[in-house]
Amino acid sequence: MTHTQAAPTKSDFKIVPTAALPAVVIVFICLIVAVATNRLWALDFFHVVGGGLWTAIDLFLGFVIGPIIGNMSIPARMEFSKKFMPKMLLLMPTLVIMTLASGWQLARHEGFILSSDKHHSWVVASMIVVGAMAIIALGFLEPANIGVLFELKKEHPNGEVIGRLMKRFLYTAGLTGAMQVATLIIMTRIATL
């Protein structure tokens, strides 16, 4: 076994964990109901729960799990990735849309997006940070995630490709984790102004 040609692995895993799809659909339906009814509690719930989980997972992945995976051997990384990456594929986009959609609606509800509002500059700052995180997540992190999963599905996965894509995944996860610190500062400022 070399780094470029890993040993044949069992590819009996699902790239998209279909068993979890009903949960995602339920979250989406609840989110749309929350937006449609414009109820403050429901919007706050989605924003706090989604944002809290998104921030915590990014920080945990970037600063705890990431360095651990980085020190694993390629076969160990592959084994871990087969179980971990499919879950991330569904979890993260769901948390992100939960947080952003309810956050936007909440800001409108509370008047934070009005340029005359005292929270406005912080809300704009949060948009810029989220925009930058979206570029990193959708431009680099998510494609690396999908690329690793498809490589692992092959009869003879290329360890070099997996190593390269995993490195990209972990670096960008660390970067978004660091940017989440800015989100924490902004959100706590907005809440206490």
């Binding site: 749309i32 936007w104 340029s115 948009m127 810029i128 690396a144 690329g147």
Partner: protein
């Protein structure tokens, strides 16, 4: 295919994403005030042109793994189409109308088309 020199499709996709998000943030940060739509219109138009250019570049790659590309692209389109649709619904529900809505919708459409191209290409480039 992974050892061949490929056109910068991923890099262009990230640039498209940046243009669309920058246009969206610019517009959203000025709502509901009246603001010039020209900066966002320019950014979104440029993003649209780059999407077409990216498709042209992919079409010129010899022995491209189209089956893998479409497999990933169609599911990504479904997923991000739903996300873009949700955001579109929110803008409409909030009373966004006229030119602003057209611009926001165009940005969301480009967003939903660009990501399947980006993800599909990332997988197809490493296909055997």
């Amino acid at each position: 295919m992974n050892n061949k020199k490929l056109p910068p499709i991923s890099e262009i996709s990230v640039a498209i994403l940046t243009l669309v998000i920058a246009g969206g943030v610019y517009l959203a940060s000025h709502l509901p005030n009246h603001v010039s739509l020209i900066p966002t219109a320019l950014l979104v138009s440029l993003a649209g042109v780059l999407v077409l250019f990216n498709l042209y570049l992919i079409s010129r790659i010899p022995n491209f793994a189209w089956a893998k590309f479409f497999l990933v692209a169609k599911w990504t389109l479904l997923a991000y189409g739903v996300i873009a649709g949700t955001l579109e619904y929110i803008f409409i529900k909030d009373g966004t109308r006229g030119s602003v809505l057209v611009l926001m919708s165009s940005a969301l459409l480009i967003f939903a088309i660009n990501l399947p191209i980006h993800f599909g290409f990332t997988v197809a480039r490493y296909a055997d």
